[in-house]
């Protein structure tokens, strides 16, 4: 009788582990899709393929800056989540080098516009700090 109970417990544990892996994998996929979307948005606006808002001038100029900045920040955010979960699945921690690489690649996307570059720099720093504290908790 006790033997049977133990096997059931083991089954439950392995099922839970498989469920967690599945969930983590799904998160990796979802995050990378979101990151891809914001990366595309970043290409369109930061490569100045879409200059519609800039041409309108006035307040639209600020909206253009916000779109550029948000696209980069969310790309970074989702990529870090995705890579973090990917690393979790492989059993390795997300190291500082990868975060630095992501930081550089994200920041370089804003090189065309000094205003976007400056705000993105601080935005990325805030995202990293936020993620650090979330991780700590």
């Amino acid at each position: 009788m006790p033997k049977f109970k133990k096997e059931k417990k083991r089954d439950n544990r392995s099922n839970k582990k498989a469920f967690n892996e599945k969930f983590a994998y799904k998160t990796v996929i979802k995050s990378v899709i979101f990151a891809g979307f914001f990366f595309t948005l970043s290409i369109l606006f930061n490569m100045e393929i879409i200059t519609f808002f800039v041409n309108l001038g006035g307040l639209w100029f600020i909206i253009d800056i916000i779109i550029k900045m948000v696209a980069i920040l969310l790309f970074f955010f989702f990529m870090v989540i995705s890579i973090g979960n990917y690393k979790e699945l492989t059993g390795r921690p997300l190291d500082f080098k990868l975060i630095l690489l992501m930081f550089v690649l994200s920041l370089l996307q804003a090189f065309r516009d000094p205003i976007v570059f400056t705000f993105t720099f601080f935005g990325l720093a805030i995202v990293i700090i936020y993620m650090f504290f979330v991780q700590e908790n």
Binding site: E21, Y25, V28, V32, F39, S82, L105
Partner: protein, 279 residues
């Protein structure tokens, strides 16, 4: 695995750089007498260089110095002129500038050869700006063609020219259409080319004459320059700075994109690995 990843990333960088370098145009000036004009924003042909809008300066103009001689085969008593050449996809722009004690009815012009030949008979086309009143900067631009060793005025004038004197400094500006109306016998057909045989010899001429002028008799000094016009598939008003920014953007976004694709590949591989472990 780590080594393979590094190799793959290095390969991506190299591919990205190679692809972006294909967008580069062959540019840069050659020798004193050979110019490959670069692309830039079209300047206004008015004899003035407006520095407030970086006219000519912002463009990829090729700045060369050229000596004009009374006798080209015996290069003595030269007049040094600044030669600026650029193109914008549809036109070729040439500016000639120099310091001189200017004479009334002074003129500067371009005799255009149909090819790289310096034979006088091959300079079938001429564009000349001639001052009619030097003190009030009044000038005329005229388009000529060679007819039995004499330059006669074209039936239909093509291109444009302007001149302006300020003190002893004079600025002449010309615009010539590129690959325009091949069938016109009165104009040299300027065409794109990249091979050794492509390009046209331009004879820069200067002189002065009383009314009515006669060419080539009234030409006082001259010299030849080979101009090779190349085709640029990029937007015609792209400046050098903008081109560099574009290349840099392609490298950055290209690298990020390739790393993104590589990461997706790793995710797919991970799924296969998980499924393998489970089974």
């Amino acid at each position: 695995m780590k080594r393979t990843a590094i190799k793959l990333i290095a390969l991506m960088f190299i591919t990205s750089l190679t692809l972006s370098s294909y967008l580069l145009i062959i540019n840069g000036s050659g020798a004193d007498l050979e110019i490959k004009p670069l692309y830039g924003r079209a300047p206004v042909i008015d004899g003035e260089i407006d520095s407030s809008i970086n006219e000519w300066d912002k463009a990829h103009s090729v700045h060369e110095s050229l000596n004009l001689y009374p006798n080209e085969s015996n290069p003595e008593n030269p007049l040094l002129v600044d030669l600026w050449v650029m193109q914008n996809g549809s036109n070729l722009y040439i500016s000639i500038q120099f310091d001189f004690m200017h004479n009334d009815f002074e003129f500067v012009g371009l005799l255009i050869s149909t090819n790289q030949s310096e034979n006088p008979e091959d300079f079938k086309d001429a564009k000349i700006v001639r001052f009619s009143n030097i003190s009030t900067n009044e000038y005329t631009y005229k388009d000529y063609y060679l007819n039995n060793s004499i330059y006669e005025e074209d039936t239909n004038s093509n291109g444009n020219g302007a001149g302006r004197i300020e003190g002893i400094r004079v600025i002449y500006e010309f615009v010539l259409p590129v690959e325009y109306n091949e069938s016109d016998p009165e104009d040299a057909f300027l065409e794109y080319g990249t091979d050794e045989k492509s390009g046209h010899i331009f004879k820069i001429i200067m002189g002065d004459s009383t009314n009515p002028p006669s060419y080539p008799e009234d030409i006082r000094i001259s010299n030849n320059v080979l101009i090779k016009i190349t085709y640029n598939p990029l937007p015609s008003d792209l400046t050098q700075q903008e081109l560099l920014i574009l290349i840099f953007s392609i490298i950055i976004f290209g690298t990020s994109g390739m790393l993104y694709v590589f990461y997706i590949y790793r995710i797919v591989k991970l799924k296969e690995r998980i499924e393998r472990i489970r089974t």
